[in-house]
Each structure stands twice: as C-alpha cells, then as structure tokens.
C-alpha cells in the first residue's frame, strides 16, 4: 500500500536499534516517522539524522531480522500522539500504544510491530458545542466539551493552526464517537473538518496560549518536607536525584497519589515493570483526594520499562509531556512525573554513540543539556486566550551513576529546575524517609511564592520555614562536633538546639509512607502541625543538666511523633496537642 507520492527508501545498514537507509525517491523530514518492512511485520522508526541521500533512523523495536535492501516507507509525519477524550485511565507504552489491547498468541509478551489506536473509536461522548456558526476562533480554542471521568474535556481547534478561522458548521448537542465530524472551519478560505481528536508531534511544545505566567501558587503534595520546606509551585519544575534504593520511586508514587491536581501523568521511563504493576493494581482501589473518585480515573500511565525498546523510551517522556500540555490547554492543572529522566538521557546516549557523534562528558551527547532544558521548559503555568489558567508541573527523578550528583544529567537538570529534592544514601540507610537531604535540597519557589504562602497559610509562614532550615543547619553542625568531642564537649544550649533540630527532622520531615494516616498530611494539617512545632522550637527551654534536657525532649518528641499517627481533627489528635502544650509549659515555655 505504498502511496506513490510518499518517499521510499531501502535499508543499507543496521547497528543495534540504529538503521541506515538510502532514499530512493522523494524528500525526507527530520524526525519523521518511517516503517521498515520485514517479511512478517512493519516496524516503526524515526529519522534522526540526514546526510545527503542517506538518513539514519532509530527503530522503536527489536531490530532482529532486518536486512540490507528491505523497503522503507516514509510517512511524512513526525512522531505524534493522538489527543482527544478517552486518554484518562489508560496505560500506554512510549509510543502511545494501549498496552491492554496488545495481545499475541502467547498472551504474555509484547510482540513487535503492533500499533493500536490509542483512543477507543466506538465509545460515544456527550458533546456540547461551545461556539456558534460565524464565530472567529484561533488555535487551541475550545469549540465544545464532553465529560471525561471527573473532568470536563474541552475539544480544541487544531493546535497548530495559524491566525484565526471562522466556524462554518458545528454539531448540536448529542452523543458522538471521537471520529464524528463535530465542526467545520474556514481557515483562510480552506475548509477544515474537525473531529474530537487531533494529532500532535511529541517533540514540539504546544503553545496555543496567550502567555506564560509566573507560578506563584503552591502545588500541594501532602508530603510535609516538600510542601513546607521545599515547595513546588503549580506549573513549576522539580527533580529528585538519588542513588539506587534511596526512595525516588516511592516518593513519586506518593506524590502521584496525594497531589491536589486535576490529573496526573506518570511516565515510567526505563525503570522496573514491577513498579508500574503496583500502580496498575493499586490506583483503581484508591481515592482521588480532589474528587473522591478512583485514582485511576485522573491518571494516565506511560509505561516504557527498562526491557522495552530503548528508542521508544526516549519518546515516552515526550509523549507524557505532550499529553500534559494538551490537558493544560483545557484550563486544567496537570502533574507530569517522569521516572527516570536518566534512562531517557541514556537512550539519547546510546543513539548518539551509534551515530558516532562526538561524545561529551561520560559519553553523553553534547546536546544533552539543551534537551533537558527543552523538556523542563515545556512545563509551566499559562494563561489561555480565554484568560483561564492551566498548568503543567514536571517532576523528574534522576539516577546518577554511583549516586554522585556531579554527573552530567544531574548537573544539567539542576540548572533548569526550580526545586531540587536531593535524596541521600545516608538518610535512606538510616531509614529516614523520605530521604530528602534537608541541607542539600532547595526550592526557589518558596521565595517566589512568598506572598501567596504568607497570605494563604500564615502571615509569618516563610519566615518560620527559613528559621526551621536554619535550625537544621545548626543542628547538623553541633551533631558533627559531638562526634569529635562527645556530648561532654558541648554546652547545654548547643545540646538543646541539637535536640530541637532532631525533633524537627524526626517528627516533621520524616513521614511514614506505609502508614494509612501519616502517609499524607493535608495542607491545613501541615500548617497547624508546623506552627505547634515551631512554637516548641522557639521556646527557650532551660535545663540544669544534659540528661534532664534529653529526658524532656524524649517526651516532647514522642508526643509530636504519636500525633502524626492520629487522624486529623480526631479526639486523639486533640489529646496530643494539649499534651504537647502542657509539656512546653512544664519546660519553662510560655504559651502565647
């Protein structure tokens, strides 16, 4: 079925997943998709380099059996995803194949060369038009809406349209499948028919909005150390680097479960399949903290795990961010999580090596930094043409070789993200979870969002947080000193400061992911808990002896700790609060 107007070629070389092709007729486009025809299947590939008549393609599948001379069909289209209602709750591979629909004779395995429609064509959606005949519209504008799970899915005009167009036809309310022609536009004299879905090339950012705006609002993750100490803004970016086993994935899963956003896109990029399986089995059983519906209903999982083809892994991150940008275009608040961006960078490295490009540090390609920056730049808070706001927040994990942050991927990521949540081996070994190192980590958003935090949480919020950080720093210094001179060698005041910082760490920064109550703290609870703790930290207790000080803090700390396991606004919770206040007074503190 080769369309004569399309470019064709034939294979001239193959090395791993890199295929060299000589073009027979026609033109080639950088990043266009092509298919190589084997006797029993057609495999998808992407053009990544063009040198004269020869071009190099990365094949998205196992390349066993490809041979010189095999025909290649170029499609003229860049690697794209399909956008429309029906994406929510799906589990896709890196190329947007719905994994639940991929079957083969043995049931269990991913047979290569299967490409399925990403969105169900038979399902009917309750369509409501939002524009009328004669209206002028521009790219990415809402022309209709359908309810999709718990959100209102806006059907958009073509995202890449130039200038404005006039609505010539629009379907009335009714139930239609996504393939139904819902509208006709006149675009500079040309008639364009719209359905509920459209395609978009994944490596291109969707920019059909009025402008980007400065993110000043808190994204609530219900993880105390993040929301309080190192907050992430809606539309912001953050990275979680850490050695293996330090807790990156567990932390991302917590964030995906408890964040207050409209939808979450989880990109499992080159990591363990088993971790995705846990999500697939857990999410349908869990509640969305915002709507109370099933967690799966607000989630899209892009799953290109470590043994799946490497080139599709490179695409998976782009697929995820593109779906995020699409929903942002509807005025929604989207969170994209990528685990792990290092595997994505490694996929680029593998291909760069096969292209024999000049390698940079640790053999990563010279364009590593710009690719990383380009990805994170696609996140952001935007104002749409209808003045509604939408956000894509991007949080990526980084898996540095040897756990050493001085490596290219961590360093390049550090330069572009707003919040750096560095996990330390030491803290994870000590089972202090989440193992975010409070001394190494930072968030630029705390100052950027200061006005809104101080308005919404507490007038003194950012001041209190900075003081807490200061205390942690002081505590660490004293701790270091004690390892040299022993407890005998420090003053009582220093010991008290040390015990305070330990208490802050143990009862606030650490959070038990596997406890039903402690695993998530609402922002209201965080404000109350933090203020109470702050009071204890600020109280200048005085003690005669060090054992006396220790004994006092054991009791105080235990009550703060037990409080974490009491449900918000339960009688036990209130009991712990009053007990804590009592202890503070008994220690010479005055209650304000």
């Amino acid at each position: 079925m080769i369309d004569s107007s399309l470019t064709t070629g034939h294979v001239v070389g193959i090395n791993g997943n890199m295929m060299a092709v000589e073009v027979d007729t026609g033109s080639v486009v950088q990043n266009e998709v092509a298919f190589v025809k084997l006797p029993d299947s057609k495999l998808k590939a992407e053009v990544i380099k063009v040198i004269g008549k020869k071009c190099f393609l990365q094949v998205f599948e196992d390349t066993t059996g490809i041979s010189v001379g095999m025909p290649v069909e170029f499609t003229g289209n860049m690697l794209a995803v399909e956008l429309g209602p029906g994406l929510l709750g799906q589990i896709y591979d890196g190329l947007q194949n719905p994994l639940t629909l991929l079957e083969n004779k043995q049931q269990f395995f991913l047979q290569r060369g299967q490409y399925k429609e990403p969105i169900d064509r038979s399902k009917k959606w309750d369509w409501k038009p939002l524009v009328a005949v004669g209206d002028r519209v521009r790219a990415g504008q809402w022309i209709g809406e359908v309810p999709e799970k718990f959100i209102t899915h806006r059907v958009l005009t073509p995202l890449g349209m130039h200038g404005t167009a006039v609505v010539k036809k629009i379907l009335p309310e009714g139930a239609y499948p996504i393939t139904e022609k819902v509208a006709e536009l006149d675009v500079n004299g040309k008639t364009v028919t719209l359905t509920m879905s459209q395609e978009w090339p994944v490596k291109k950012a969707i920019k059909a909005y009025k402008e980007r705006i400065y993110p000043e609002e808190l994204l609530i993750t219900r993880q105390r150390i993040i929301d309080t100490l190192f907050p992430i803004s809606r539309g912001g970016t953050s990275c979680i680097p850490g050695p293996f086993g330090a807790g990156k994935t567990v932390l991302q899963h917590l964030i995906s479960k408890f964040s207050s956003v409209d939808l979450v896109i989880v990109v499992a990029c080159g990591e363990r399949a088993g971790e995705v399986v846990e999500l697939i089995h857990e999410f349908p059983e869990m509640k969305d903290p915002k709507t109370g519906g099933s967690l799966m209903d607000r989630t899209i999982i892009i799953c290109n795990t470590s043994s799946m083809p490497v080139a599709a892994r490179e695409a998976s991150v782009y697929t995820g961010i593109t779906l995020g940008e699409y929903y942002r275009q509807m005025g929604l608040d989207v969170l994209v999580l990528a685990d792990s961006t290092s595997r994505w960078a490694q996929a680029m490295r593998e291909m760069s090596g096969r292209l024999e490009e000049i390698p940079g540090e640790e053999a990563f390609p010279a364009y590593l930094e710009s690719r990383i920056a380009g990805l994170y730049e696609r996140a952001g808070l935007v104002q749409l043409h209808n003045d509604k706001h939408g956000a894509v927040t991007l949080i990526g994990t980084v898996s540095p070789a040897g756990g050493n942050f001085e490596e290219p991927v961590t360093q390049a990521t550090l330069k572009v993200v707003g919040a750096f949540l560095g996990l330390s081996r030491k803290r994870s070994d000590e089972r202090k979870f989440p193992a975010i190192d409070p001394l190494d980590s930072y968030s630029l958003y705390i100052d950027q969002m200061a006005d809104s935090l101080n308005k919404n949480l507490d007038r003194e919020w950012t001041k209190m947080v900075h003081e807490a950080e200061e205390l942690l720093r002081r505590g660490a210094e004293i701790g270091k000193m004690m390892t040299v001179v022993g407890e005998e060698g420090i003053s009582i005041d220093d010991l008290v400061a040390y015990l305070k910082s330990e208490m802050l760490d143990f009862t606030y920064l650490q959070q038990n992911a596997f406890d039903d109550i402690d695993c998530a703290a609402t922002i209201e609870r965080q404000v109350a808990d933090f203020k109470l703790l702050y009071k204890a930290l600020k109280t200048p207790f005085s003690f005669e002896t060090k054992p006396e000080a220790r004994k006092f803090f054991v009791a105080l700390q235990d009550n703060f700790y037990q409080k974490n396991y009491a449900a918000e606004s339960s009688p036990e919770y209130a009991k712990f609060v009053s007990k804590i206040e009592e202890i503070i007074v008994s220690g010479g503190g005055r209650l304000v």
């Binding site: 399986v277 470590s306 043994s307 490497v310 040897g402 756990g403 070994d429 022993g486």
Partner: protein, 435 residues
Amino acid sequence: MFKEYTKITNIIGDIIELSAEGVTYRELAAITNHNGDTSLAQVIRIDGSKVSLQVFAGAKGMSNRASVRFLGHPMRVPYSEDLLGRIFSGSGKPIDGKPEIANAAETDIGGPSVNPVKRVVPRNFIETRIPMIDIFNPLVESQKLPIFSTPGEPFNELLARIALQAKADIVILGGIGLKFDEYIGFRRKFEEGGIMDRTVMFVHTAADPVVERLLVPDMALAVAEQFGIAGKRVLVLLTDMTAFADALKEISVAMEQVPSNLGYPGSLYSDLASRYEKAVDFEGAGSITVLAVTTMPGGDVTHPVPDNTGYITEGQYYLVNGMINPFGSLSRLKQLVIGKVTRDDHGAVMNAMIRLYAKALESKKKISMGFEKTETDEKYLRYADLFEERFMDLRVDIPLNDALDLGWKTMAECFDRFEIGVKKEVVDARWPKGA
C-alpha cells in the same frame, strides 16, 4: 541451501568482518576454520555489504579463509523436559558427556519482554532458612535480586544453599566465567541435595571463550521462560554477572564504541535490565525468580556494574566478611509478604531487632573511641554478640518461625520488654514466658 563465504576481510578481537549479501541482523552463522574447528557467530552490525559477526568460540587462530555459512535465524536454544538434569556450555553444547537434545522445540533467546499489564503483583514468600534473608529481607517469588559481594566471599555456596532450600520446581544455573572447581562444586551440591534431576545448567568456565559468556544469561532465561509459561516455578541463578558485564565491555571496545564509564558501554544499564527483567510472575502460569551474584571490583559498590545493577534489581544482599550485612541489604518486595503471608509479628521483630543491632554497633563504636562503657552499653554488646552468632552466622539453618521465636528469646535475654520499641499488643502476645 545457504550461501557460504570464504573471504573474511577483518579480524578484530573476537569480531570478524566480511562482505555478504542478504544477511539479517542478529542472524547466526556457522564458521568452519581451516583446521576444521567450528563455531557459531552472530551478526552484530551490517553496513552496506560489510557484515560484522562476533564469534562465540573467539577469533583466536581464525584464518581469513575460514568458511562462514549463514543459518537464516538468530540464536536459539532447544527446550523440552529432556533438558532437566543436563549441563550445557554457553553456546548450548552438552558438556556432560551425554548426547545432544533430540527433537526439541527451539526458542529464540533474548525474546521480547512481558507486557507489563500481564504481570501480577508478587505475593509468595520463598523460605531459605537463612534468618538474615527470611526475617530481614525475605525473598519473594519472581523477585530479581543480586548478591553484592567482594571477590573471595562464599557467594556461590550461598547461592547453592538457597537453590537447595527454595523448593522451586526447576532450578537453572547460568555460570559465567566460573572456575572449574566452582562448577563442580555446584554440581556436587545439587547431586547430593537431590535436585539435579530438576536442574538445567549452562556453564561457561573461565577457560572458555569470552563471547560465550554473553550467551549464558540469555540461554538460561530463555529456557526459564518456557518452563515458566508451562506453569513451573523457576529459580534462575546467575553467577557472576560482573563477568558478563566485562564481556560486554570487551565486545564494545572491539567495536570501537565510545565507552561511558570505566570502559563499559553506554548501554550497560539496558543490557543488564533486559536480562533481569525476565523475572516475572505469569498470570495463571509459573514464575521466574532471578538470584544473581555481582562481585564488586575492589569492594566498590559505586563501580558501574554493581551500581547499574542496583538501579535495576529489587534490592540486594550484601555479603561482607562471610555474613549478610543487615544494613546495605534490602529486599524491595518484602512489604508484599511480611505479616501478610508470614507470621503477624514478623514486621515488629524485623524492625526491633535491626534497630537494636544498629544501636549496639553505635555502642561498640563509642567504646572503641574511648568513651565510657555504661550499663546500657553492656546490654547492647551482649545483644550484638548473640545477634551475630544466632542470626548472622551463615551456618545457621532454621525455618522462619523458629527464627522469629529465637528473635524474641534473644531480645528477652538482653532487654526489658519496654526497651525494644514494639507495640504493646505484640509484645504481650509474644514475649517469652518467664522472661
């Protein structure tokens, strides 16, 4: 039937290059040297008419007039029940003096990965009778877990012991760069333990050609996969995966690939992951559990091989000074079985004992630095001694429930019941009478 070529243009390391037509990527070729020696080889690069192959038996002594015959298919391994009790080389030749496997179905090695949505959440505890594993980091069916070890530790003994106790339906040993004595050691233990008749061995010894090393994990895992689909619970042992990674390095150097870290190819992570990810619990069929050995060159866990492995596997056991170290070791699937399929006090015993041991080590350190020894320190020191003797010593061989009881007994011998930081209900139920 297939065209034969007799003009090799280049020989680089264990890679030969020649001009050939109609060859497919990863195709297998049979090579006959001028002296009659034969070997298989696999296509690893095609550039126009130039084809590069890696020769499984190595290219030492290879003549540029050797005959190369392409076979039209990638590497395969025979699969049938007849494999049980048999021993093969890395390239699948019998090395136990018995005949080739006849009339067996053949399966491609290095096949596609399991569709993630077809996996199930692991849920079966594998009892090893080694308390450091069973109590503190239990092994779960379908887990992939390496033993991180410095060279010279008894990791192969540990591996063999687990294989004997794991009650798997089928055991598949993939020996990579094994010393001859180690190979015989496995064989003896499996024969004495009576599991040889449900074992298949693929053994590459240090004396065998390097390229054959690369095949061992794939051969072992391809066979495991077939047994797994057929409903068997398979345990795959791979030792030593560092030798496997070193073979990858040799090939990539010969192919002039740009190395990423310490000479290893940039694809090391993917190369290791595609093997380890074969571990799976098939819905409605069997399972594959992968237990591997990763020796750490220079004892350095940040070396690229253990480092990449740690990022892939579901935890690791650290074997240090002949003991499994409780701190670096981790079974990431433990929460799926502890207290769910094991006894309800399992979690409490695990946490309390480990916390007490960590404190005991702090006391030891403090005392070694010349600080005063308190009465509390005495308790902890006593506990540390008992802990090492009763739990850490690799000779200890007891079922989990006995180990948990011994845990309570040990804690009761050293501490008061309120000192161990365990919820009251649990202590009330389990604290030894009369303690």
